[in-house]
Subunit: 110 residues, 2 copies
């Protein structure tokens, strides 16, 4: 994934309304009104947030007649999860090295 796309992904998640939408969509597809209603925001505002989520590669939308339905793109969250687990692996390795270095150091006699 290109850095700009990664920026957009994290930016999309940096808002409580958009995270609520992601939480709702993780349980299944939903229309704009179904996404706006539980968080009590106006439809134009909801659409703006959904556009940011689409730009972030987190959601997809399909139009059937006059109704647009949104659903999750699970691969985007996978990418974030993978990036984090790589950082955690590096941290664990660094910690192990530290412990190793401490055990290797011969202690002074009193």
């Amino acid at each position: 994934m290109r850095p700009e796309q990664f920026d957009r992904l994290f930016h999309a998640l940096a808002d409580p309304y958009r995270r609520s939408m992601v939480e709702r969509l993780s349980r299944g597809p939903a229309t704009v009104s179904e996404l706006a209603e539980p968080i009590a925001i106006a439809l134009p505002s909801a659409l703006k947030h959904l556009r940011v989520l689409e730009d972030g590669g987190i959601v997809l939308s399909e139009k059937a007649g006059r109704v647009r339905t949104y659903r999750m793109r699970p691969d985007a969250l996978r990418t974030v999860a993978r990036w984090i687990s790589q950082r955690e692996a590096a941290m664990n390795k660094a910690f192990d090295r530290l412990v190793q270095a401490m055990t290797d150091t011969p202690e002074e006699d009193e």
Copy 2:
């Protein structure tokens, strides 16, 4: 974690320089110059990014004499990982329900 803190956490990760710093710090503590040098940015700019990472609860800093050293706070990334795995669990459950609904539907005879 409060929503505002979560916003700051994701916002902190929505920048390639800050993600580079997180990648570096995951391998062990580092000074401002050690963080600025490999990504070729000026120290004031590096400090600005580090402040955003501190606000996001991702890094900590300690000053010894004139040298400030930064290190990871592993709990912040844990929080993100947990939020994502909750979304993935919900998506898997929704998918299972869909498959179940499809299998339960009695097929029409030709």
